[in-house]
Each structure stands twice: as C-alpha cells, then as structure tokens.
C-alpha cells in the first residue's frame, strides 16, 4: 500500500493548519510525524481518516486518486486512526467494543463465537492480555489502547495511524508496543505515528517528517539524525531548562500534606491500601506507577473527591475530608491538575475565558452576591492568556478548538496562577512538545523553589525523574518503593511499577 498526499491544505478560520503538505506513507514502514503542539499533525491524520475534508490537494492510494469523505470510507479503504484519547463505549464490554468494527457491516446477526475466537487470536498475536468481558471503562488506559489496536486490526486496516500512542503506556508497555508495530509493518502494514518523544521516533521509525505551523519543514532519515537536531527543526532554538534544584540548606521545612494510613474502596474492593506519605514545603514528591494502580484514587481522596474508608489526611495540620474540594480550591489550599485533562479539565464548548475562570469563580472581585463580573473575568482571562502564552490569544474561543498542548496550558495556568499551598499535578506535560514541556517543568520547579509543596503524579518516567526530590512507586494500591531521583533508573522504576521491586528495595 502506498498512500500519497499531494499539496494537502486545510484552513481553519484563515489559519492554515496544513499548508500544501506532500508526503507518502508505504507498506512496511513506520513513519513518524513530529512537530510542536498545533503544528498540524493531528489535522493531517484526521484528513487521512476521513474526519476532515481538505480544502485543497489530493490523496491517492496505490496511484488511484481517492476522496476520503467519511471515516466509514476511510475504513473501507483500509485506513484506521487510533486516536490519542481512546474512542470507546465505556458501558460496553471490551469484546463488544472491538467487534463494533465489524458489527457495523451488512450482517444482521453477529456471530459472537466466531468473532470472539478471531479477537482472541489477534489479541494473542499482539501479546495482549485483555479481559474481553470487562467493561471498557473499567480497564486501564493502556488496556484501552490495546483494545483499539485489536479493533483496528479486526477491521482489516492496512494503514494504521497512531496519535501519540505511548503517552499513556508504561515503559514496558511502550517497548511491547514498538515490537508490535514493527511486526505489523513487517506483515505489510503501513504505520503512521505521531509522537513527542524524539528518541522513540529515532529508535523505531524508518522515516520522520517534521511539521511546523502547518508546513512541512523537513523529512529526515532517523539513522542520520539526533534528538537535538530534531528538536531544533521543530521549534527553532531549543529552550534551555533552568533551575533543576536550588537548595537552601538549613531551613526548617514544614510538612504541608500528611497522608496517614489511608485506604480507598471501590465496589467493596480496596484500591488504595493503607498508604502513608508526606509532602513538605519546598519539595516535589513524585508518584510513579502504571495508570490504574490506585495512585489516581489516592489523589482524589486527598483533594476530597473520594471518600477514604480509613486513615487520615491533613493539610497544614487541618483534617480534610470528602466533599471539601471546592472549599480547598476556594481557599487556595490546593491546586489540582487532574490526570485526564480531556475528561476532567475543561468544558470544551465553553470559552477559554470561562474555562479560565473556573477556580476563581467565587473569588471577591470576580463575582458579587452570586453575580459574575464579566469585566473582571475578561481581565483575568487576558492576563493568563498573555502570561502563559495560550494560543490563539482569543478569550472567546471555544476551549475545545485549542490544540491539546494549549488546553493543557489553560488548565495549568488557572491552577498555577493561584499559588496554592499544595500543588497536585497529574501528567502535567502529557501531549506537550519539547518547548511546552520545558515551560511546564520550569513552572512546577518555580513553585517548589518558592517554597510550595508539590505532589506530582506522572506516567512519564523522565518527568518523574527530572522533577521529583523523592519518588514513590505505586503498585496495586500501595507504595512498592521509595527512591531518590539518583537511584531511580528506568529499570528499577520499571521493576517497582511492575511489583517486582520488593527484593531490590533497601
């Protein structure tokens, strides 16, 4: 299969998200698209997947011109997109979600047994251990990604596009993923991958195309390049990352957060088991772990969104309990960046200004007697947009029209701007490019350096290692190990995250 895009252009309100892009994708090759947030990578693959219609340009498959006007048509042509955020029906089982790829066809009666066998075969070929009868919403993000891959293969795709596939995966899962797509490529599939991880791009792909502000700026051969070169092509000059640690020795650091023997239950199952931890002023405590091992639930208990079934949580010595979230936010005692920004962060159809006002809605000046003050809200929005360089700088834009990176900036902006006593950030740089990641890391470090207490939860080990002063690893609801960043090699973290770290722990 040889898919060629010729001079493909797509504009949104005068801005060219794709400007005369010409690129080909071939069977047997893993082709990586690189670029900053908003460079037009997602737009390009959405055009391929039939989700967007290009304004100009042409697409051909094996020399025959095609017009991909709907996702259905794309699938019929053998093109499938595995998007960044899992597209699943949460209430259906894993199997039902997978066979949805086929059930949409002509058959009126679904041959469950036969399909089940086929699905099991594909999953086994890929080395996935999927519980086909679990509800799709109850499985981890990593497993949801596996679900989508199996679904894609079942639909008979020949060109498979992965939008930031490894974002939600653990190191081990990522490695397995790359082995898998290599095998798929060898079987004759064409693979297109969008990623922010430069090393991944170099290590695993056969072609790299770099986009910048909607234009194709370079096509490089991975073997002949370095991460630094790629970063420079993407953003121009690489931003310097500053202030890793600024130690002020001899200070007495007060404990801000104290979690004492806390357990959390869901459906009468213990998902957090007697966890204790502390976070003091001027330190970043990192929590590493495979998504779904209870760390998110512990965080929710800390911010008051979940009931702790036992134990005690205090912030600055005061007990905090279930249902107090709003009070904690209002009093600037916590700032909370949730793990899944797409789901928990924004009301997409509402404006950027409205979304920026979430946390300060009741603040004096922003509202009076329950009435909102629009001028104050507009000023607040403009200030944050400018200070945190949110693009496009228009407060009235619907938040869902922002690129993923700018959505993340929006959420971070409204939290960081409040200078909360305890900052809880989850996956702060997920989906961000090199430049934006540097900015986010700097911001988090600045909070620490200004004596703030930070609890960081991240699935990205680089992030955990670069930012944390102490690292706690979560496995099956409890802390499986505590490390300093120096001791925390990928291997060691990986072992602890897989629960095999017991014998290594000192």
């Amino acid at each position: 299969m040889h898919v060629r895009l010729q001079d493909v252009t797509k504009r949104f309100g005068g801005i060219a998200a794709n400007d005369a892009i010409t690129v080909s994708f071939q069977s047997g090759k893993i082709h990586t698209l690189l670029g900053e947030n908003g460079a037009g990578k997602t737009t390009l693959v959405r055009i391929l997947a039939g989700l967007l219609n290009p304004d100009a340009g042409s697409i051909s498959i094996d020399g025959h011109p095609v017009s991909i006007d709907s996702p259905k048509h794309a699938i019929a042509l053998g093109i499938a997109l595995v998007s960044q955020h899992p597209m699943i029906a949460g209430h259906l089982t894993v199997l039902e979600n997978i066979i949805a790829a086929r059930a949409g066809g002509q058959r009126t009666i679904i041959k469950m047994k036969a399909l089940r066998g086929e699905v099991e075969q594909i999953a086994a070929d890929c080395g996935f251990k999927l519980d086909l009868d679990a509800k799709a919403q109850s499985i981890s993000l990593g497993a949801q990604k596996q679900l989508e891959i199996v679904r894609t293969l079942l639909s008979g795709a020949r060109l498979i596009i992965f939008d930031e596939p490894t974002d939600v995966l653990t190191p081990a899962e990522s490695d397995a993923f790359f082995v898998l797509i290599r095998r798929l490529a060898d079987q004759g599939k064409a693979i297109v991958m969008i990623t922010h991880f430069l090393r991944e791009a170099i290590a695993h792909s056969q072609a790299i195309t770099i986009l910048k502000r909607g234009r194709l700026v370079a096509s490089v051969v991975p073997a002949e390049t370095t991460p630094a070169q790629l970063a420079e092509l993407m953003v121009g000059v690489l931003p310097s990352i500053v202030a890793a640690t600024e130690e002020t020795p001899g200070r007495v650091r007060k404990t801000v957060l104290e979690v004492d023997n806390v357990s959390v239950e869901e459906d009468r199952r213990q998902i957090v088991r007697r966890v204790s931890l502390t976070v003091s002023e001027g330190e970043i405590v990192g929590i590493a772990g495979v998504a779904g091992n209870g760390q998110e639930d512990l965080i929710e208990a800390i911010v008051g969104l979940r009931q702790a079934t036992e134990g005690r949580i205090t912030i600055d010595g005061t007990h905090v309990g279930f249902g107090e979230t709003r009070k904690l936010i209002r009093d600037d005692r916590i700032g909370y960046v949730p793990p899944d920004r797409h789901r928990d962060g924004l009301a997409g159809v509402m404006s950027v200004a409205d979304n920026l006002s979430f946390e300060v809605l009741e603040r004096r000046g922003m509202s009076r007697f329950g009435l909102r003050r629009f001028q104050a809200s507009a000023r607040h929005a403009s200030r944050l947009i400018e200070r945190y360089r949110i693009q496009p700088p228009r407060p009235e834009t619907a938040a869902e029209k922002l690129s993923g990176g700018n959505q993340q900036k929006l959420i971070l902006a409204r939290v960081l701007d409040r200078n909360p006593r305890l900052l809880i950030v989850c996956n702060p740089s997920r989906g961000l490019d090199v430049g934006a990641t540097a900015w986010v890391w700097d911001s988090v470090r600045r909070v620490r350096n200004e004596n703030g207490a930070v609890l960081l939860l991240s699935g990205d080990l680089d992030e955990i290692r670069s930012l944390s002063d102490r690292i706690l690893v979560f496995f099956r609801g409890s802390v499986s190990g505590e490390l300093s960043p120096d001791e925390a090699s990928s291997e060691r973290l990986g072992l602890l995250m897989g629960g095999a770290g017991g014998e290594h722990a000192a």
């Binding site: 979230t325 709003r326 936010i329 509402m350 329950g370 909102r372």
Partner: protein, 360 residues
Amino acid sequence: MPLSSYFPAFTWPAFAGNRRVGFAVLPLAGIAAALATTAILVWIAGANPLAAASTIVDGAFGNTYATGVTLVKATTLLLAGLAVGVAYRAGLVNIGAEGQLQMGAAASAASAIYLQPIVSGSLLTLISLFAGFIAGAIWSGIAGFCRAFFKSNELVTTILLNYIALAFVSVLVSGPMAASSATFRESERIPASVQLPKLIAGIPLHAGFIIALLSALLVGLFFSRTTLGFVLQVVRFNPFAARSQGWSINRMIVLAMLLAGGFAGLAGSVEVLGVHGRLIDGFSPGYGYLAIGVSFLALHNSIAMIPSAVFFGAGITGMSYLQRSLQVPSSTMFAAQGVLIMFVAAGTALAVQRARQSAG
C-alpha cells in the same frame, strides 16, 4: 439534470456545510415540515389547507380578544417551557412539566381556598403563587433527587410522576376539594379578589403574562450572569470537569430540577388564578408536553421562548377556531401538535449536532 445545475447556489452539501445557515435554518425547517404535514392532515380531514391556514391565523390574532386568548395560552406555555429549558441547560431532560404544573395548580388552589379565613386579597394571591412554585419544585425535585442519589433516569421518572399528579388532582376535585354544588369535577371558586387581575378590561389577558415575561428574563439572567447558573452549565457541558472543580453534581442536579419544576408549578398557578378561578379536572390540554416544543424551538434560550410560546399558543387558539369554523376534528389538532414537536425537536437536534460536528 440535477436541480443544483439550475440553481448552483442551492447545492445541498454547500447548504448543509454552512454552519451558521444550518444552525438557524434547521429549527425553521422543522416548523416548515410540520406545517406541511399539518396541511396534509387538514386536507385529509376534508378542508382546504390554505383556507385553514388563514382561519388559524384569524382565530389566533383576528381581534384583540383572540390575541388575548393566544397570549393567555402563551403565558402558561412560557412558564412550563422554562421548566423544560432550565432543566435542559443543566443537562437534564424534564418531560414532567405537565405533572409539575398539575401539582402547582393543586397547591395554588388549595392555599387560595383554605387560607381565606387567615389572609385575603393580593397577599393571598402571592402566597398562592408561591405555593404553586414550591409544589412544582417538590414534584420535579423528587425526580432530581432520584437521579442524583439512585441514578434513576429523570426522563422516565418525570413521565411517571405526570401520571401520579394527574390522578392526584382528579382525586382532589372528586372528593376532598370538590365544590359542594358542582356537577363537574372541580373545586370551589376562588374569590375574584384573590385571582390574578386582568391587564385590560374585557380581554382575558391576566397579570400572569407579566409574571411569565419576568420569569423568562430572570432565567436568562440566571444563566448568563450568576455563578450558580454558570456552574449548572459546566455540569451540563462536562460533569467530569465540574466534579474535579469540587462542584457537587448531585446538588446541582437537585437544584436545577427544583428550579425547573418551580416554573411549571407557577404555570399551574396562573391557570388556576388567572384563567379558571378554580381547580378543574383536566384543565390542561397538555401544556406540559407542548412546553417541550416551546423550549426546543427556542433552543432552550429563555428569551427566545417568548415568541416560541406565542407561536404554540397561537397554534392552540387557531386550531380550536379551525375546528369550530371548518369542522376539522380536534384530533387533527392534537396530531398537528405532535407533528410540530417532533419536527421541531428533530430540527433543533440536527442543528446542535451539526454545530458540534463543525466545532470538532
């Protein structure tokens, strides 16, 4: 040769692809389709659709009295429409305006009749209106509470509560509240001093019309200006985001339903205090259901509901005039109403879907 080659400007894809046009046109297209279907129904019933159309307009707006009647219907429809719209803008589907309106009417009538020894005059009118609001609020609040704490679908519970309310009012006027001399199932008459005053002598338009307009305005302000209205909209657009902001979704659901039902209760109150002067079995020809159409046609915008309610009100008065003058059976009218709601809801739903698609 396709039509578009003669009229290049009117190619369907271009037309449907234009977000702005699509958004405004689809609800109107819904009305057009409904009117066309109604015309067919009228024709089947043996009347000339064109003559029928002019008869309807004549019946609804032909003279000041007819216009007054239309606005009286619009008053009730507007208040009931707010009950649908307020719930919808908080992400809830309230099909229970009918029941909430019945309960509001019952509470309003009961307080106006039984509190007479204690208070009288316009103070009692206010108490009675308040009682109507509260009763409607409680009735929908039940559905809100069940949704929030037992996860029962409010669409289903509100419908079920309608039947209970209707039966409850029937029971009230057949026994406990029945007028001693009545041949119909109705309550004692509420003294004129407690009823809502007429705005213009000789025309049935009553002060409830002002209440309804003010309510629409207040609801508009509530959603655009208040922090609470803002939070309700966040709950609608993304309950997960609302949750992680620490806004209690359950509380918001109950609150939105209470507020919504309150307006439907008021709709019942103005029927009792402004139109009938008593509680009558079957006083509502399905206002609570028509209210769904009122709200959808206005895309749930409370100010746009004012003309929408007048439109539906004109439908009722115009069609009943049609029935009297051209002998078109009343069932045609109910069929036409149903068709209208269906098309309008489909049109607006399509418009919203299209807007969302082009946003994505």
